[in-house]
């Protein structure tokens, strides 16, 4: 194993462009405005990311209208989206893309590359670490086509999806978002920059995408990708929290000196930085492992979530605490990062789930 854990020059350029674009279109005031609005996400920003720049389909092959890049590039975009707490269904779409790539679903990939939003219909906390899938029943219509019945609660990035991919009965189905018998209900969510929804299906017509092992391995690869990509988003979020806190402590004076000159705070931020340096290595390793089909990818995914999930929460908590009263104020961005970090720490499996998965992967059996 000699995976390169550095950013390539192209990835650095990609980062610069995305960061500049988000500075213009996803400033803090805009993010709060979207979070407070009834809209589930920022449709204009999504248009920019998908239709106008093709960033939402980085990993889709060129002949299907995508950019033909890898998950390692997608992860760089997610670092920046995490940094901005941008309200767009990017992560969910990237996860769906991974699943569709695995299945070679050209039509849906083309739709996705054209700006369509495809969502994997699973509770946000389901990851590759072996959680239970919701019970959705499959029955057959008069013409022999499949119908789905059941509820799936707490799905992310699905409110504006055009197509939902539903795991049911050990198979994978595509359900058109406008299908009769499908209802989406927005959930008032902790993280309103990535709100969840509940799905209910009553005889919703569906199309079979894959069954058996093929379905299982496609789903698994999508969930591994989700855990890995989320780790990069968490890294970007944590970096924003650290940078913003440092900036505040340099300029905020109390007791006749910048509060950032007090050792009690300096040392906590130094410790946070030490964790962040490691979070970057872990995220890059996981992204490289998946992008290159390394056999260690599964372990890398669980390692990345076990480390970066709690780190992002800690970074956001320190950010709030070290900003004092202003950090607890609705008009200050810190709370959005706090909520997003906590929500993300549950997504694609919590750290304890991933540690349990590592027990098996690293041959450390339980008591």
């Amino acid at each position: 194993m000699t995976l390169d854990l550095r950013y390539t020059e192209e990835q650095e350029q990609l980062r610069d462009s995305v960061r500049a674009m988000l500075a213009d279109h996803a400033g803090w005031a805009r993010v709060l405005e979207v979070a407070e609005s009834p809209e589930p996400d920022d449709a204009d920003l999504w248009r920019l990311l998908s239709v106008e720049t093709g960033l939402a389909a980085l990993a889709v092959p060129e002949h299907l209208g995508g950019a033909g890049a890898t998950l390692a590039e997608t992860a760089v975009v997610l670092e920046e989206l995490g940094r901005a707490a941008a309200p767009v269904p990017y992560l969910g779409t990237a996860v769906a893309a991974q699943l569709l790539l695995h299945l070679g679903e050209s039509d849906l990939l083309r739709e996705l590359a054209g700006g369509g939003i495809v969502a994997l219909a699973l509770p946000f906390d389901v990851g590759p670490a072996g959680q239970r899938l919701p019970d959705v029943e499959v029955s057959t219509a008069a013409d022999g086509s499949p119908l789905l019945n059941g509820t799936i609660s707490g799905v992310a990035d699905a409110l504006r999806a055009t197509v939902l991919i539903v795991p049911a009965g050990g198979a994978l189905f595509a359900v058109d978002a406008e299908a009769p018998g499908l209802r989406r209900t927005a959930v008032v969510s902790l993280d309103e920059t990535r709100p969840l929804c509940d799905l209910a299906m009553w005889n919703a017509p569906a199309r079979l995408l894959a069954a058996g092992d093929r379905a299982a391995s496609a789903l698994d690869s999508a969930l591994v990708a989700g855990a890995v990509l989320l780790a990069s988003e968490q890294l970007g979020l944590a970096q924003w929290c650290l940078d913003t806190t440092v900036e505040h402590l340099r300029t905020r004076y109390q007791f006749g000196r910048p509060v950032g000159s007090f050792q009690a705070l300096k040392h906590r931020l130094a410790d946070l930085w030490v964790e962040l340096v490691q979070a970057r290595a872990v995220a890059r390793y996981a992204a490289a492992a998946v992008a290159q089909g390394d056999p260690d990818a599964r372990l890398a995914a669980s390692l990345a979530q076990a480390h970066n999930g709690p780190l992002a929460v800690r970074a956001a908590e320190e950010c709030v605490q070290m900003h004092g009263g202003i950090g607890f104020t609705w008009e200050h961005p810190a709370h959005l990062y706090l909520k997003r970090a906590k929500s993300a720490s549950v997504a694609y499996g919590t750290a304890p789930h991933h540690r349990a998965a590592l027990a098996a992967l690293a041959d450390l059996a339980p008591a």
Partner: protein, 426 residues
Amino acid sequence: MAAPFRAGRPALILHSQCIKFAAKGTEVGASVAEPVTAESLRERVDGFLAGHDPAGDRLEFLRARFDAGLAWVHYPVGLGGLGAPRVLQPVVDQRFAAAGAPDNSPRRIGIGLGMAAPTILRHGTAAQRERFLRPLWTAEEVWCQLFSEPGAGSDLAGVATRAVRDGDGWLVDGQKVWTSMAHQARWGILLARTDPAAPKHAGLTYFLCDMHAPGVEVRPLRQATGEAEFNEVFLSGVRLGDELRLGAVGEGWAVARTTLMNERVAIGGAALPREGGMIGVLARTWRRRPELRSPALHDEVLRLWVRAEALRLTGIRLRQQLAAGEPGPEGSAMKLAFAALTQQISGTEVELLGAEGLRHDHWRADRPEELDLIGRGPTYRWLRAKGNSIEGGTSEVLRSIVAERVLGLPAEPRQDTGVAWKDLPR
């Protein structure tokens, strides 16, 4: 405004640049001196092995390896290297190891390899590099670090050991303490005060101290583990020639900083396979002894495993970035995380073993020949790890360095700059 991707889709940007890079690579290769690659290094090693029997005389073999530029490939040609990227070193080491070649007992000469060598390379004269680097690398000459004193530990720039001009050389008087491996050492890197009237950082000069010179006395100093890995070193009228001064008079602090930066990398940064460090000991005990397991300890072991693996990957990434250059501030991150981690892993190991974990092998005041953080039993590991957050800069001092130099947080108000060293309160 952001670069519009539609104009040149990301894929195109990515692909066209890959092609450009590849083309540039070949052009350079064709016109300039042949670049050192992993492949060419393997060939060099094989060529060397064809002419030198790894089973023959150890020292002769190591000297020849140095002369062939295969010692530390990132060092300059003529000084044991090939001016090659530092990342390629493992290629060479693995090839030699596979051939059963003798190594230079790196654990015995860690201070020389990790601290003295990069400092001599950066600040030494041609004659000093020529004289010292080869026997340092072949382990003919072991080095120690004569920095800390009873009155100057964290505050290293406060050292009181005096070096006074004496004709064409220097006379050194003072006391150093906690000097690891001084009992093995032929040479020491020494920080001494040459101008007590200057502010403390400005009055220092760096020397290479002959540990065999008259007036150098090394006394064992026992540590919490019972052994005496470190020492007190008394310097009484020690005469050092001016050719043993490293860097200019009064420039000792800048030279010492090179040493310290490298020390932090050396302590935290060894390249290891997964479970190659202390976590491997704990993981193997966990696997071998199911009767010791409990659910709470299980999660503890997993948490530590995650942290150890995260730190290991960080070291790999750091080494990839280091390619040829100087260690950056991330070395301090490694050192900080390493100290905390070894302390917790070894603590958990003792708890996992229960009463069995309280059996210590012996409290003899051994004089170890080499530094080994994990070689003995669990209680030894746990005790020795306590030193990790003290040696090479305490974790508190390192946090302040990170906060100020990496994060750019304001310095604390201080009273000891701009004052003559001799007038400081102590």
